[in-house]
């Protein structure tokens, strides 16, 4: 790898790691509580 590739690498990974970890933690923290008997289905408001 060239010096520029390595420099970009060293900039990109800390930013990417921070952004993704923050996103995952927030997604876990904010996820709604489970509803009883919940199943995956096509959202009703979209059914043609």
């Amino acid at each position: 790898m060239t010096r520029k590739h390595r420099a970009l690498h060293r900039i990109v990974w800390p930013i990417l790691a921070l952004a993704v970890v923050l996103g995952v933690v927030l997604a876990l923290w904010l996820r709604p509580p489970p509803e009883p008997g919940q199943t995956r289905a096509v959202p009703q408001e979209h059914v043609a």
């Binding site: 970009l8 990109v12 990974w13 990417l16 790691a17 993704v20 996103g23 995956r40």
Partner: protein
């Protein structure tokens, strides 16, 4: 080494590599489906398709995790170089698995006569302002698009056409695709699925990759510190400090690295960048009198940096001299293929 254009340059090693990959993917999918089917048998066709969506999606995520770990692992431990050799085929297979995942998603809508809903989900603009409820499928689609771009330009033709420098920058987009995939799962499947396995799988996968890249980057940083120049020459050290049939890498102040090789009493300096994919030549060995790149085995003569016939690749060489028992390198590159090796007593 390459001569002429061929669709795919197969050899025994690549066939074995690809064979193992295909078998591993098949075993993973079979294992996932078997366990999921037994623990919760699907009640209807959409449920069965949903299992395939999850099996192929998790498989693609796992494959991306492994692919992105290979690079830093090979920097940290040479034993992983064997995995790097055919990483591009690994990437193409990952794109195909991700494409099948997308195909099953479309099928899931089709069997419920609800395909227009998929498009409706993508253009439900108010959802883009939400965090929970964000159209996570868009993130997956964006990642799939990047994977398509990378898979379609993975051939050596594109490497030569774009130049290794540009090609490498383009293929760094894989990092972004991986981030999109993680958020696609976090805002999608992880919101429905209450099993702690999903966040664990996600965090362990991404955490491992990020940690390996940060660690490899931190270790690489030290090697970029330039050696103290003596006038315009860089001091490498005594000839014995260069491993026989190996190299010592020195950095030009503010420039690229130089690999100083020794083969017995013959010493030569070439750019550390392989002409193929900018692989780190200085981490390679001299095999059959030729500098051999540790990534894909491209070879160059020690004497002049030229690939042996019929191959045509050439490396920039550097003048070397023995001064007061120390090997020194002139950091000004000579035109590629210029003979510059010296013999020391």
């Amino acid at each position: 080494m390459s001569v002429g254009l061929r669709a795919v340059q197969w050899n025994r090693d690549k066939l074995v590599y690809d064979g193992i990959l295909v078998v591993c993917v098949a075993l993973y999918l079979a294992g996932y489906l078997l366990i999921a089917w037994r623990s919760e048998p699907p009640k209807a066709l959409p449920d069965a398709i949903d299992l395939w969506i999850r099996a192929t999606g998790s498989c693609a995520f796992l494959m991306l995790t492994v692919i992105l770990s290979i690079g830093p692992l090979a920097r940290l431990d040479r034993r992983f170089l064997r995995l790097l050799y055919n990483r591009r085929h690994f990437g193409v297979l990952t794109f195909l698995v991700a494409l099948v995942h997308f195909g099953f998603l479309l099928d899931w809508y089709v069997v419920q006569n609800a395909l227009p809903n998929f498009a409706a989900e993508l253009v439900k603009w108010p959802d883009y302002a939400k965090f929970i409820g964000f159209p996570f499928k868009v993130l997956g689609l964006a990642a799939l698009l990047i994977l398509f771009l990378l898979a379609s330009t993975s051939h050596d033709f594109w490497l030569m056409f774009l130049t290794p420098r540009v090609w490498k920058f383009l293929h760094m987009a894989l990092y972004g695709a991986y981030g999109l995939v993680v958020l696609h799962v976090a805002l999608g499947h992880m919101q429905d699925e209450r099993s702690p396995l999903v966040p664990l799988f996600l965090i362990a996968g991404f955490g491992t990759v990020a940690l390996l890249h940060l660690l490899a980057g931190w270790r690489e940083r030290k090697a970029d510190h330039a050696v103290a120049p003596t006038g315009r020459w860089l001091t490498v050290g005594p000839p014995a400090a260069i491993p026989d049939k190996g190299a010592r890498i020195v950095a030009i102040p503010g420039g690229e690295r130089i690999a100083v090789f020794r083969d017995g009493n013959q010493i030569a300096a070439v750019t550390n960048l392989c002409a193929h994919q900018n692989g780190p030549l200085g981490e390679g060995r001299i095999i059959d009198g030729c500098i051999t790149c540790p990534w894909h085995g491209y070879q160059y003569r020690l004497a002049d940096g030229c690939a042996p016939p019929p191959f045509t690749e050439k490396l920039a060489t550097f003048r070397v001299r023995l001064e007061r028992g120390l090997i020194e390198v002139d950091p000004t590159p000579l035109p590629p293929g210029t003979p510059a090796a010296i013999v020391v007593a």
